[in-house]
């Protein structure tokens, strides 16, 4: 069976992922009311599992269907009051949600895991709730076996495990007429060697005159001793494996979930679009056809005077441009999706990582309804996971320490989104220990990123640039650092690749806030083209706050910073030519392009303005890596490639000092 043949159509993947996401969301909702779950929520969770099963079965996705079936089963028992909703079970169900998503994107991804998990879901029969884990949960019994065990049998199996003995599964075949005697004799022979816990019907035997059984035997004796007891009778004898890991540890083994940067699968590449939006697009296309017809008619119109002909042509051209504008807008709209699925994923991630890290914390979200470009959602996932992981591992202190600092035991992480014009600002704040700037300073000196003098003079905010620089975030820096710095350069590069800007604000002991400012769409980035010493650069319009003409005069502050009054405020200015070390080639006028991120402002002095363009930006690629001041490139015409400025990096550089790294060969 080739995995390729298994691959379901992309519609399946996107619908399955959506359903799974909704299921995950409701499960988290359930958890909050675990003591007294709302029947309505329970019902909808059950229905979601059910429809997932149906969906998977329709598309021949047996693994997923089985898993969904097991989840549905368990949920049904919750619903009917037959099973209690426990954290361990919720864990299993949430684990299933993750698996659904992985399976949706790649049906061959986690086949074994799916099976194991389905078994574990099915095996959560009502058993006495104990403190700690149920050893039975670790027993690799087939779900159909597990399901038929009586409470007493389960109890005996538990006892076997508690004694440190093994559970063996033996398949035996006995003649139809003597099987009861044979079983009695076997039981007798087993005495002293082990215990026959359960006698289950086995698979149909080849012959009609024999009966097949599966026996579960608890025994501390070795295999030879057992075999001799069976006296050649067993067709098969094998120990039932006991898993080493805790069943509630969702990431016990196997590949990590897609959250940790898996291959973008089918679902990520497909998009569900409201049919009304498609209809509108179709209308636009119809209109364009009409214009095409008119223009064709014009080419035949020999009776028109050249002047009238030109007028007609111009009118049609304007109609064409107007309609293309509308079409573009609609297409951009169709690419927009809410952030909610991403936020939901972070919820599940936080829940799991907090458990792993042994920390108490909650993730609160706001602005999940904000819509951004589908591709941005995908590309944001990795950086966000990184930041969340950082916050949990290094930000939030252990509960005991927090109490000592007069904070609530449980940490709090807030993930929020807000749309501001054509920008979206995502903020991730934690109320943890904050960045240890003194330590950052130390490490920066150690690693030769800053000389001692400059490091001492640097303010905490100036040290932010160090935090995001590649030289800082190496493995050894991490182990040496109690604060942050795990791959923040990668995060920054990713964000810059999205024409975005990342900013950090942190106070020791109070917490840390990362703020990511992004354009709402990636399909095209609106850019202002500026001329500097004969070069052309693009500034993402989402970072441009103001454009003014400039007379070249500026004041100088005590520390040598150039300032210019703009609309009543003094803002720092920098000549882009000087910053980039370009020869001066003034072409007359000077302009001030005021750019900003968060509360920071900077006036960039440029020679010329060349209008706005919709740009399709490309990353500079891994070979060049982080080029200070540049986030990517875009083609603005045939073979004309311009570089797109990285406003965040320029702000860092001008407001905090020269870059730590210059474009490397």
């Amino acid at each position: 069976m080739s995995p390729r043949r298994d691959r379901p159509p992309p519609e399946f993947a996107s619908e399955a992922v959506e359903t799974a996401e909704a299921l995950g969301r409701n499960l988290l909702l359930l958890e909050r009311t675990a003591a007294d779950p709302e029947p309505e929520v329970l019902n909808s969770v059950f229905r979601q599992a059910h429809s997932l099963k149906g969906l998977a079965a329709t598309f021949g996705q047996t693994r997923m269907a089985e898993l969904a079936h097991a989840a549905e089963d368990l949920l049904d028992r919750f619903r009917l009051g037959k099973a209690r909703l426990t954290t361990a079970r919720l864990d299993l169900l949430l684990e299933a949600v993750e698996l659904f998503q992985r399976l949706a994107e790649d049906p061959s991804a986690a086949v074994d895991e799916a099976q194991t998990l389905a078994a574990r879901l099915s095996s959560t029969d009502e058993a006495p709730e104990r403190m700690g884990e149920d050893p039975l949960e670790r027993l690799e019994l087939q779900p159909e076996v597990r399901r038929v065990l009586t409470e007493f049998e389960e109890h005996r199996l538990r006892e076997t495990l508690r004694r440190g003995e093994l559970v063996w599964a033996a398949r035996v075949e006995y003649p139809l007429d003597t099987f009861d005697r044979e079983l009695e004799q076997l039981k007798a022979r087993l005495r002293g060697v082990g215990e026959l816990v359960s006698t289950l019907p086995g698979p149909a035997a080849d012959r009609l005159d024999v009966l097949s059984f599966v026996l579960l035997v608890g025994s501390g004796a070795g295999e030879p001793a057992l075999r001799s007891v069976f006296a050649g009778a067993p067709v098969e004898l094998r120990p039932v494996l006991v898993r080493k890991e805790r069943p509630s540890g969702p990431e016990a083994e196997g590949p990590r979930s897609t959250l940790e940067g898996g291959e973008p699968g089918g679902a990520a590449r497909t998009l569900r679009v409201d049919i009304a939006r498609l209809d509108a697009l179709m209308d636009d296309v119809g209109e364009l056809r009409l214009i095409g017809e008119t223009i064709r008619g014009l080419s035949d119109a020999r009776d028109l005077s050249p002047r009238a002909w030109t007028v007609e042509l111009l009118r049609e051209q304007r109609r064409l441009v107007r309609r293309l504008d509308i079409l573009q807008d609609r297409l951009l709209q169709a690419r927009m999706v809410p952030l909610r699925p991403l936020f939901d994923r972070m919820q599940r991630l936080v829940r799991r990582m907090a458990r792993e890290a042994g920390k108490e914390l909650v993730l609160e979200t706001s602005g999940a309804e904000v819509q951004i470009d589908k591709r941005l959602v995908e590309e944001l996932s990795d950086p966000l996971v990184h930041l969340v992981r950082n916050a949990i591992d290094h930000g939030i202190e252990p509960a005991g320490l927090r109490e000592g600092r007069g904070k609530p035991r449980g940490g709090r992480i807030l993930l929020s989104a807000e749309q501001l014009g054509a920008r979206v600002v995502l903020a991730l704040s934690d109320d943890g220990g904050g960045v240890d700037w003194a330590r950052v300073r130390e490490v920066a000196i150690q690693r030769g990123l800053l000389d001692e003098e400059r490091a001492r003079a640097a303010s905490d905010r100036e040290l932010q640039a160090v935090l995001f620089s590649p030289g800082f975030s190496t493995a050894s820096a991490v182990s040496a650092m109690s604060g942050r710095g795990v791959g923040l350069d990668v995060v920054k590069t990713n964000i810059a690749g999205l024409s975005g800007v990342i900013d950090v604000e942190s106070r020791a002991g109070e917490g840390t806030t990362f703020r990511i400012t992004l354009p709402i769409t990636l399909a095209t980035v609106r850019g202002l083209l500026v001329g500097v010493s004969g070069r052309v650069y693009a500034v993402p319009l989402s970072s441009v706050l103001d454009v003014l003409s400039h007379d070249g005069r500026h004041g100088v502050t005590e520390d040598g910073r150039h300032m210019v009054p703009v609309r009543g405020y003094n803002i720092p200015v920098a000549s882009l030519a000087e910053t980039f070390g370009l020869p001066r080639r003034s072409e007359g006028g000077l302009y001030l392009v005021v750019v900003g991120a968060a509360e920071r402002r900077l006036g960039l002095v440029v020679d010329a303005l060349h209008g706005q363009r919709d740009l399709v930006t490309q990353a500079l690629g891994p070979r060049l890596g982080q080029v200070p001041g540049i986030s990517g490139a875009a083609e603005v015409g045939h073979h004309h490639t311009v570089l797109v400025l990285d406003v965040g990096a320029l702000l860092d550089e001008v407001l905090r000092g020269p870059p730590l790294l210059v474009a490397q060969a």
């Binding site: 441009v321 293309l324 504008d325 083209l529 001329g531 010493s533 004969g534 070069r535 052309v536 980039f580 070390g581 370009l582 080639r585 010329a608 303005l609 060349h610 209008g611 706005q612 363009r613 919709d614 490309q618 990353a619 500079l620 690629g621 891994p622 070979r623 060049l624 080029v627 200070p628 001041g629 540049i630 990517g632 490139a633 083609e635 603005v636 015409g637 045939h638 073979h639 004309h640 490639t641 311009v642 570089l643 210059v662 474009a663 490397q664 060969a665």
Partner: protein, 186 residues
């Protein structure tokens, strides 16, 4: 859509426009197909030979994915040699390097990025090399052709390969240094 100021097009044209790029669609980009007509024999090496400055060099043919006619590059601000600039290779930003530094010879690459550069000399080519970090370009003065040599015919440097020099090839016309193209990018 937006009214394009005339200035931009003129400006762009002044330092980027090249007549031979006009027809440069996809088909025209490789000015030379580097497909061997025969399967190479096991003990044979196929070399792409090129000239740079006064020297003659070669790289294994398999390492080169494409040969482009040299064109004006987009300048990377504050780039240090040997990085010359970048070009947009069908949507992939590709850095281009000057190999002279690595080869220890004076650079013959004219200014090729930014507003002050003249059109590159006609024979100049950019060899596109596939690397783990994506494609990269090597600027050469001229491409000579493809040469098959017996592996035994290659003089290996004494004491194993040094740097990126794989060996020396002596022919009637003179000697040719065979190098590892990735080494030229560093």
């Amino acid at each position: 859509m937006s009214q394009e100021p005339r200035g931009l097009e003129e400006l762009l044209a002044r330092f980027r426009y090249r007549p031979d790029e006009e027809s440069g669609g996809l088909a025209q980009i490789p000015t030379q197909t580097v497909e061997p007509d025969q399967e190479p024999r096991a003990d044979e090496l196929q070399l792409l030979t090129f000239g740079l400055g006064a020297g003659e060099y070669a790289v294994a043919l398999g390492t080169v994915t494409e040969i482009l006619r040299a064109r004006t590059l987009t300048e990377i601000p504050r780039a240090r040699p040997p990085l010359l600039g970048v070009l947009n290779l069908r949507g992939t930003i590709t850095p281009v390097y000057d190999p002279s530094l690595r080869l220890g010879i004076p650079s013959t690459v004219p200014p090729c990025a930014g507003p002050d550069c003249a059109p590159p000399p006609r024979p100049a080519r950019i060899l596109v090399v596939r690397t783990a970090l994506g494609p990269a370009g090597v600027w050469v003065d001229r491409v000579r052709g493809v040469q098959r040599v017996r592996t035994g015919g290659l003089e290996r440097p004494r004491g194993g390969p040094t740097g990126g020099v794989i060996g020396l090839l002596r022919t009637a016309e003179g000697s040719r240094t065979v190098v590892d193209p990735e080494w030229l990018l560093r």
